[in-house]
Subunit: 376 residues, 2 copies
């Protein structure tokens, strides 16, 4: 490997991409344009399809394919609901509505009406991905059933699983998943933990990545807190063969995030991030705003996932319309302040340029170290 | 800067050390031998003196000086007690004793007796450091009063403050502190937060370090989750000019950790770490064992710092004697599994050798990047 080839390794070869840079999927507000823009640049764009029904996913895949001929990833959540979601009733809905009622009234929004929960099945979503033979199938919150993984292998659909702990990485390895995204707790959005509870699975990227690298033989993708060239080089030093950036892409024009969300992040006035179950029912990182504080307050009852997500959407639609950043879930990772991306191609060009200054020797050192230790 | 001089920068020059590697101070079980061993190797040994009265600190400094002629750091906690420590009474003591009572009985240990709290004052401890003109005065949990920092400058005592957030780094910078340890939440032991509550100041090292580097002009020391050469190189890529390792030194022969503690860490059977206020009253990271679970359980009342620390010591002395690793506070960071140090000099020699393979270009890139961005 020479200094000029830091960007080519076994992972980029298998994926057929030019740079080991992956765009994190955004479950809440994915964007076909963003996915295609990252892939067209030579990275791997991802699309978080978790909220979509099978027919919608089919359309999304067709649209992405109309925007790029390059590989891209479709991302799903293996676990689609929390215990209790199917039995949660109207009185639970009303209790969880309580901390939001004042805000809704302030905004002049109607009181949300309780609706029966209609589940979306992971298996039905996955079927669309398999039938469409998407280039990459990435997932969080668990491991797909064996038959789905076998069909992926048969159809040459590359699989990427997400681990928040070394134990989860070992489980993904044992299931034959082809690459592992080691997701540090700095990351914005959901903690995809599936062995221990998410709040007992919080590891920093700097600590998680090398421990995962030490126990798996497949390529490791570092995710969480990577906002600029420094984070990319650090991830490579830790043994990662690719990086995944999420929040860094949120602010770009191609992103599916709301104008208010993008503006808040770009103005760097949003303060710091924190974890909450309040936005959706599952532990996730966003900006610590008024809404998060109210939901994290003692006595606030949180509905099981995905019911809480549906409940909060009533407020966030009204709050976004009113420009109230304090009352919208503002997804962001801990390094939100490090990047200022408004155009995917410009951002990635500049990132690649800066990374290229030093990445060659670091990638070489890291690869040599991995070889040495896997022999020993 | 050439490839061979990665280990020399403005921080090592000022400190008069050969390698930008700092041993984290251990408040609970410091060791003069360990401090001296790290300094004798050419790093910076540290000694956590927070639990000692001034006369003891004087003796410790004399002993370290008898073991090394090299620079070393004495570490104190600026904030020495939590609100309520002076008014906490015997009934609070008894309530906090409740979750321990069964364990104490099992171990055949006597029921601890309530004692009136006798505070140690930070200012009295700091006086000893100033009078002894220690080479380095490092501190966590706040910023020393202005007159103490001025006396340090006058006496050429180098100061290192600890930040858990960018805001804390800015506050240390504004106070004229000469280097800042950016302490990610991966670190073992206490979270030294002093602006927001510790549990609302949890940032990963990968995210914290570059954000601190961006806002201060003094050297930044990366701390938290660094266990081997990979973490050292990653820290340098993030912009740090030195690293601080704590847990990595816990297992060495020179360490002040108990035999049970060292054995538990070396055997890698300890499971994962978590944060708790239960061990001392302040948020800190250790192995998630039975004791931590009991103390983190709902309904467990935790005394204000340092009263809880005193209470727990009753149990840990008996549990250590009985070899019960599940009932002793087992301080450890998230990368406890990465290192296997039993001899300081051998561990550091091997670390330096591995780091040297790649650190030159990385340090150079990082320094160039800092210069460019500080101009722009």
């Amino acid at each position: 490997m020479t200094a000029s080839s830091w960007n080519r390794n076994r992972l980029t070869e298998k994926l057929g991409i030019n740079y080991p840079i992956i765009q994190g999927p955004f479950g809440g507000f994915p964007s076909q344009r963003l996915t295609a823009a990252v892939s067209n640049f030579g990275g791997l764009g991802s699309f978080g399809a978790l909220n979509l029904v099978p027919e919608e996913i089919k359309d999304v895949i067709a649209e992405i394919r109309s925007l790029t001929s390059k590989p891209f990833a479709m991302n799903l959540w293996v676990s689609m609901e929390d215990e209790g979601a199917r039995t949660s009733d109207e009185s639970a809905f009303n209790r969880s509505l309580a901390p939001l009622a004042g805000h809704l009234a302030d905004l002049g929004a109607p009181r949300p009406i309780y609706k029966t929960y209609s589940p979306i099945r992971f298996e039905d979503q996955a079927r669309v991905l398999l039938d469409a033979k998407v280039p990459v199938f990435s997932f969080i919150f668990g491991i797909p059933p064996r038959d789905i993984l076998e069909e992926c292998r048969a159809k040459k659909i590359f699989t990427i699983g997400a681990a928040t702990t070394p134990d989860e990485a070992a489980a993904l390895r044992d299931a034959g998943v082809e690459a592992i995204a080691a997701s540090g707790f700095e990351a914005g959005g959901h903690r995809g933990s599936f062995l221990r509870p998410a709040d007992d699975s919080l590891m920093g990227t700097l600590s998680l990545v090398p421990q995962v690298v030490d126990i798996v033989h497949v390529p490791v993708i570092a995710a969480g807190g990577i906002g600029d060239a420094r984070g990319v080089i650090a991830a490579m030093a830790l043994g990662a063969e690719a990086v995944q950036l999420g929040t860094a892409f949120l602010t770009c024009d191609e992103s599916g995030a709301s104008r208010l969300h993008r503006k808040t992040l770009l103005e760097k006035k949003a303060g710091h991030t924190a974890l909450t179950k309040g936005f959706t029912g599952r532990l996730a990182r966003g900006i610590r705003n008024r809404l998060m504080e109210d939901l994290n307050a003692k006595g606030s009852e949180i509905l099981p996932y995905p019911l809480q997500r549906g409940l909060i959407r009533n407020l966030s639609i009204a709050a976004e319309a009113a420009g109230r950043a304090d009352l919208v879930p503002m997804w962001a990772g801990q390094s939100a302040n490090l990047s200022n991306c408004t155009d995917v191609s410009a951002f990635l060009s500049s990132l690649v340029e800066e990374v290229s200054e030093i990445a060659g020797p670091v990638a070489e050192w890291s690869a040599r170290r991995r070889r040495k230790h896997s022999k020993g």
